[in-house]
């Protein structure tokens, strides 16, 4: 089945990177990638009901405007069932703890090992399918 992934990051190059990394999976139809450059945009996209099944990746905690943790909280308030994966350069205990507290499913630190990321994604998807 196909899974939609919304990746939120203020860096436009993140979209290019993810598209290239998930090129073969996208070709095979396993994942559909969606991108948002800000928290506001992400919330708008979520309100628009992206289908099929959705996983959200918050690529940066340190975003301008609403930061990643606040966005996580917001998303989990609106859609408690939505799996959210945190992807960040700040791997410290405090942020890890807060992310877990707000309901993040995964916490992956940068630099991203995409093989590891894909493995985590598969684990998240498994109970959905």
């Amino acid at each position: 089945m196909t899974v939609s992934i919304l990746i939120v990051d203020d860096e436009p190059d993140v979209a290019i990177l993810f598209r290239q990394q998930f090129r073969s999976e996208a070709r095979e139809g396993a994942y559909v990638l969606h991108f948002a450059l800000s928290a506001v945009e992400a919330l708008e996209r979520l309100a628009g009901e992206i289908e099929p099944r959705l996983i959200v990746i918050l690529s940066d905690i340190n975003m301008p405007g609403m930061d990643g943790l606040s966005l996580l909280r917001e998303i989990k308030t609106r859609r408690p069932d939505l799996p959210v994966m945190m992807l960040t350069a700040y791997g410290d205990e405090e942020r890890r703890r807060r992310a877990a507290e707000y309901g993040a499913s995964e916490f992956v630190t940068k630099p991203v090992d995409f093989e590891f990321l894909k493995e985590r994604l598969r684990r998240l998807i498994a109970p959905l399918t």
Binding site: Q21, D60, A89, E93, R97, F114
Partner: protein, 561 residues
């Protein structure tokens, strides 16, 4: 006599001497009076003797002339008899004091004898010779009696005179002896009393003199003569007061000096405290700068991390894409001629190599950023079982390259002596890394300082890092052959803000934080041995398993909630 005043003593002595003089004089006067009395008595006695003898002679004349007159009836004889009788009477009167009764008896018998002789003369004139003879016989018997009596008196008076003279002689001799004995006795007594009195004054006076000399010479503990009501006692009292005042003055002087010393010490302490405060302030400012620099570093590191992430990811992606390109273009490549193909292969190879180099250097930069973050973050890390040797090696490389980055001329020989039998140690990697970075940095600094001070090219700085298994714990020894640590600052080493490095080079926090991390967070020990000009060695022991409770456990529990 210590309680009697000297004046009283002298008056008493004078009175005593006068008394002795008076007594001895009176004694002599009495003796002299006695002698002179006996002399007077003797003179009287001599006159009595003379009168007695004269009476004897006069009576002889009288009896002759009375008898003659009785017989001759001559007027001249009668006259002579009268004269003799007058002389006899005078003599008898003179000696009557000797024996008044006898003298009176003699006078009576003389009267009777002359009366009888006169009656005999009357008888003879009437020619009655018989009666005259009888009467004369009677008279003669009186004469014999009177002669005897006068002789007795003369004898007696003469004997008495002799006795008197002897007595008087003896009295004189006794007086002389008495005078000599009394005089000598009085003299001795006077001398004795005088000596006693003088001694009673001079002895304490000498003591006072000695005390005065001692006090003048500054010996205030010298013994003092006893005080008393007399003059020397008063002097002693005054001297004692003088001495007490001197002692008091000395005491006050010492107290003043002590107080001054205390004031000086307090001032010095205050100055030192001010100095230390300023140093601490400077260190705090420096630490604050370092802290904000650390935050800045962390911020920069994070910002660098994202672009670096892209570099690494795109480089790796590109390597994959290039492989994909080669696979997709393989049939087309095969249709090309040899030269073109080799050119294409070469370009593809160069591209792959370049991308690999980009990925490799990106990874290197990423490691540096990681270390920066680990170093600036501090605390709060996870405790995990880690390979101590790997951690030491990583820290050593980081410290070495850091030192090289700061000073391109820096160089040191690293001697690694890692024990092969060390098991994984339970620790917080970033914190222990921080400890090692501190120890290695200090070792580099000390060795470098020594090289700078020797500065002749003969000194070779060496840092030896040894790890070994101690059974329950692992040990890491970090030894440099640098300047060493003087004894007097060795116990300050782990105090916060204590540093020997110039401001801006050291914060004085490195070893104190290391101490906290090793002892409190990991239950280990950190010790130092050093010899100035030779070496410094820090010995860190880390137990394989952290068992003690405390801050770390509390923090870990908080994290899991």
């Amino acid at each position: 006599m210590p309680s009697v005043s000297i004046r009283a003593r002298l008056i008493f002595l004078a009175a005593l001497l006068l008394a002795i003089l008076a007594v001895s004089s009176m004694l002599l006067i009495r003796e002299l009076a006695r002698v002179s009395q006996s002399l007077a008595d003797e003179t009287t006695l001599v006159s009595v003797v003379k009168n007695a003898n004269s009476a004897s002679k006069h009576f002889g004349d009288l009896k002759y002339w009375v008898m003659d007159a009785a017989v001759t009836q001559l007027a001249s004889s009668q006259e002579a008899a009268k004269t003799a009788k007058a002389g006899l009477d005078t003599n008898l009167t003179a000696i009557s004091a000797v024996d008044p009764t006898l003298v009176a008896a003699i006078a009576r018998e003389v009267g009777e004898m002359t009366d009888l002789a006169r009656e005999a003369g009357v008888a003879y004139s009437s020619d009655d010779s018989a009666s005259g003879n009888a009467l004369l016989e009677q008279a003669k018997s009186h004469v014999l009696a009177i002669d005897g009596e006068i002789d007795w008196i003369v004898d007696r008076v003469e004997q008495e005179a002799v006795a008197r003279r002897d007595a008087s002689m003896r009295g004189s001799e006794l007086a002389v002896k008495l005078a000599i004995v009394g005089g000598v006795g009085a003299l001795a007594l006077a001398l004795g009393f005088t000596a006693f009195t003088v001694r009673s004054i001079t002895v304490p006076l000498k003591q006072v003199e000695r005390s005065i000399a001692s006090i003048t010479n500054g010996d205030l503990d010298a013994p003092m003569p006893p005080t008393g009501v007399h003059e020397i006692g008063a002097m002693t009292k005054t001297l004692g007061m003088l001495r007490d005042s001197l002692i008091e003055r000395g005491r006050l002087e010492r107290e003043r000096e002590l107080a001054q010393a205390e004031v000086r010490a307090a001032r010095d302490a205050a100055e030192t405290a001010l100095h230390e405060l300023r140093a601490a302030q400077a260190n705090l400012i420096q630490a604050e700068k370092m802290a904000s620099l650390g935050q800045l570093t962390a911020g920069i590191a994070h910002e660098i991390k994202n672009p670096l992430n892209f570099i690494n990811n795109f480089a790796n992606l590109s390597i994959g894409l290039l492989d994909e390109l080669k696979a997709v273009a393989a049939p087309a490549f095969n249709s090309l001629d040899q030269h073109q193909r080799s050119q294409l292969d070469e370009v593809a190879e160069l591209l792959t190599g370049n991308l690999e180099r980009i990925a490799e250097h990106g990874k290197r930069a990423d490691n540096i950023v990681k270390s920066m973050l680990a170093h600036s973050r501090g605390g709060g890390g996870d405790r995990q079982r880690a390979d101590l040797n790997a951690l030491v090696e990583e820290s050593l490389n980081l410290a070495y390259h850091g030192a090289r980055a700061q000073d391109p001329n820096f160089n040191i020989t690293l001697d690694r002596q890692y024990g092969a039998d060390i098991r994984p140690v339970e620790l917080v990697p970033q914190d222990i890394t921080r400890v090692f970075l501190n120890l290695f940095g200090n070792g580099f600094y000390a060795a470098n300082e020594r090289q700078r001070s020797v500065n002749d090219g003969t000194f070779r700085p060496v840092l030896t890092v040894t790890t070994r298994d101690l059974g329950q714990a692992a040990e890491v020894r970090v030894r440099d052959n640098g300047v060493g640590i003087p004894d007097d600052i060795r116990d300050k080493l782990f105090q916060p803000f204590f540093t020997t490095k110039p401001t801006g080079v050291g914060t004085g926090l490195g070893l104190s934080i290391s101490y906290e991390i090793v002892t409190k967070q990991h239950g280990g020990t950190i010790n130092v041995a050093s010899e100035v000009g030779r070496y410094t060695e820090f010995v860190v022991t880390l137990p394989y398993r952290f068992s003690a409770g405390g801050a770390f456990e509390t923090r870990a529990a908080g994290r899991e909630s």
